[in-house]
């Protein structure tokens, strides 16, 4: 499987739920390729992914609905392969090939 893929990139799936998809042109699921090393030569982590999403993918100017103080805003859960990112090291988690990263905004309606 890994033979065919570019050695310099990591392929991941990013998903949005709870209304966050509206900030990403109503796409609920994105297949992304990110560099295997970030701007400092480190392995890309979630913090890098959040910056990448905000700077390159997100066209909506309302960035404050996604990030606040350089991290995802309160009320958004980040789930790494179906587990709360707090179980995986939060934004320090180093992204691996094939990871599924889900951003969920809390809902309040009832």
């Amino acid at each position: 499987m890994s033979q065919a893929k570019d050695e310099d990139t990591v392929s991941i799936t990013v998903e949005f739920s709870g209304g966050l998809e509206m900030l990403f042109a109503n796409e609920r699921k994105l297949s992304l390729t990110i560099p295997v090393k970030d701007e400092n030569g480190e392995r890309p982590n979630i913090a890098f992914l959040v910056r990448h999403l905000c700077d390159t993918i997100m066209k909506d100017p309302r960035k404050e609905l996604f990030v606040l103080d350089d991290t995802v805003r309160p009320g958004i859960l980040v789930l790494i392969n179906d587990a709360d990112w707090e179980l995986e090291g939060e934004d320090k988690y180093e992204i691996e090939e094939g990871d599924n990263i889900l951003f969920v905004s809390t809902l309040h309606g009832g």
Partner: protein, 525 residues
């Protein structure tokens, strides 16, 4: 004219009958409650389990003889008579009513007895609370309390299944009690009118075994979670919006704050509230009935699982509860359901850790301001008076013949921009208006070079369109009059006002004000 009078008279009659009906229902509920209390007192060993008159029911439908005689005995000799020995742990009618769940190993006799002994508080009797209450009452939970401060509105009925057309304007609590009582008269239903507040939270929740959060604001979610932690009650929390829903069982097991083996609370998962501008209500965002219904039904299911669970007796094999998880429902995704593993209790949680700052004293004294904690959005007040026009004045521009020139009013004299989302615009709109959805407005960058000769490379189509007809003033309208103001600012940032030569302003109060003051037939949705 004659018809108008008839219609008005009929409307008045209906209104007065409805209010009479509502009074009667409230009296009925009170009488039933007193009746059931009396029976509970006169027959203390039997669980409080009915707010109905069982005799009336049984004379109509027939029932087992010894139950009838038992009731007569209970009613005729109140205190002195020793209660007759019971032959079976459940009433005969209960075997029949709950038979289909009784034969399931997940419930069984012990499970049903646990349900009968249990009490559940449902906070919020709306889209989540209605289906949740229906299933819990149907399943024979002994006592179900209902908290809500609202009255039934027509726009609730597509999803709030306990309410009905005839019960519009009735309190949601009364409406739900009428429906639930006819569903299962054996359940003790307790009304709590009004919203839950920090001052009333502990006294309201403390007598219940389990709580369902069926509310619709972040402030109430933090309040309910904090109170559940303080009182040691498991909490089943759900929410829904548009086509999505979320469900969590929190504080399960409900161990005291500081005990890391307890289940996480709402604050563990969401330590900080979301910014208020990111919170969307069902009224603004919309909601599909079966989506919120699904979540309410799932809350009832989780509640039944918690309530019927066998208590762990063995010290060596303490039954570990399911690991904390978040269920995500997404009606238009495949698969529709997803379960996410959640964290355990947060070591620094403000509510459930050893360092908790949320205390019963703080709650009771009212020093915890949940509304302030979650923040509020002030109504937009972005424009000066000369950038705004009232609906009445706008109506003159649109509808009146100019008294001096005798000229017909021309809708062509100006541009009316309606910034509601397209789906709302398609429902109803003012003739001649142009739709530029607010989401489009917001996602357009206002960093446009506007100097002579430096035409922006790619200007959004809608901006280019408005840039034409420089002579025509632009009026902006929306549903309530907030987005329109923000849009006016944006249009000016984009330089559409031609350096102040072209008037751009908003219609104050939006289409709601238009309906209230100008056109009564403009649909309300």
């Amino acid at each position: 004219m004659a018809y108008e009078t008839v219609i008005r008279t009929l409307r008045q009659k209906i209104t007065s009958c409805e209010s009479q009906l509502q009074d009667l229902r409230r009296h009925l509920a009170e009488a039933e409650y007193q009746n059931q209390r009396q029976r509970a007192l006169s027959h203390p060993e039997r669980n409080v389990h009915s707010s109905a008159d069982p005799l009336a029911h049984d004379f109509t439908h027939g029932m087992h003889d010894d139950f009838t005689s038992e009731i007569f005995a209970a009613l005729s000799h109140s205190e002195e008579a020793a209660p007759p020995k019971r032959r079976w742990p459940l009433e005969t009618t209960e075997y029949k009513r709950y038979g289909r769940q009784l034969i399931m190993p997940e419930i069984g006799l012990q499970g049903q007895l646990r349900l009968k002994k249990a009490s559940v508080l449902i906070v919020g009797v709306g889209g989540l609370g209605c289906p949740a209450a229906a299933y819990l009452v149907g399943a024979g939970v002994g006592t179900v309390g209902l908290v809500d401060g609202d009255t039934v509105e027509e726009s609730n009925l597509h999803r709030q299944i306990l309410h009905s057309t005839a019960k519009v304007n009735m309190t949601k609590v009364d409406s739900a009690i009428v429906s639930l009582h006819s569903l299962n008269p054996h359940v003790n239903l307790v009304p709590h009118y009004g919203r839950l507040t920090p001052e009333t939270a502990i006294s309201t929740l403390q007598h219940y075994d389990l709580v369902l959060d069926c509310t619709d604001t972040p402030a109430s979610r933090y309040l309910i979670s904090d109170t559940c932690v303080l009182l040691g009650k498991p909490l089943v929390s759900a929410s829904a919006l548009r086509t999505d829903g979320q469900l969590m069982v929190l504080n399960n097991p409900p161990l005291p704050p500081g005990n890391a083996a307890g289940g996480p609370c709402y604050r563990c998962v969401f330590p900080k509230p979301p910014p208020p501008e990111s919170v969307v209500s069902c009224g603004d965002g919309g909601i599909l009935g079966p989506v919120v219904g699904t979540m309410g039904v799932l809350q009832a299911l989780e509640a039944l699982k918690v309530l019927t669970k066998e208590p762990s007796t063995s010290v060596t094999r303490s039954a570990s509860p399911d690991p904390p998880s978040l269920l995500i429902f997404s009606a238009y995704s495949s698969p529709m359901f997803r379960t996410i593993r959640l964290r355990t209790r947060k070591p620094k949680c403000a509510a459930c850790s050893a360092h908790a700052t949320v205390t019963a004293e703080a709650l009771n004294s009212g020093s915890l301001d949940y509304v302030q904690f979650c923040g509020t959005i002030n109504p937009v007040d972005a424009l000066g008076p000369n950038e705004r026009i009232s609906v009445d004045n706008y109506a003159k521009i649109r509808l009146d013949v100019n008294p001096f020139t005798g000229l017909e009013p021309s809708k062509d004299s100006h541009i009316l921009v309606d910034v509601r989302e397209k789906v709302q615009f398609d429902l109803c709109s003012l003739e001649g208006s142009v739709n530029v959805p607010f989401s489009t407005v917001s996602s357009t960058s206002s960093k446009v070079k506007n100097g002579p000769g430096t035409e922006p490379i790619t200007e959004a189509g809608w901006v280019a369109e408005l840039r034409q007809h420089v002579d025509k003033p632009i009026f902006v309208v929306c549903r309530m009059g907030n987005d329109s103001q923000v849009t006016v600012k944006k249009l000016k940032e984009l330089g559409l006002d031609n350096g102040g030569q072209r008037w751009i302003g908003d219609i104050r109060g939006g289409l709601r004000a238009w309906r209230n003051n100008v056109d009564k037939d403009f649909p309300e949705y």
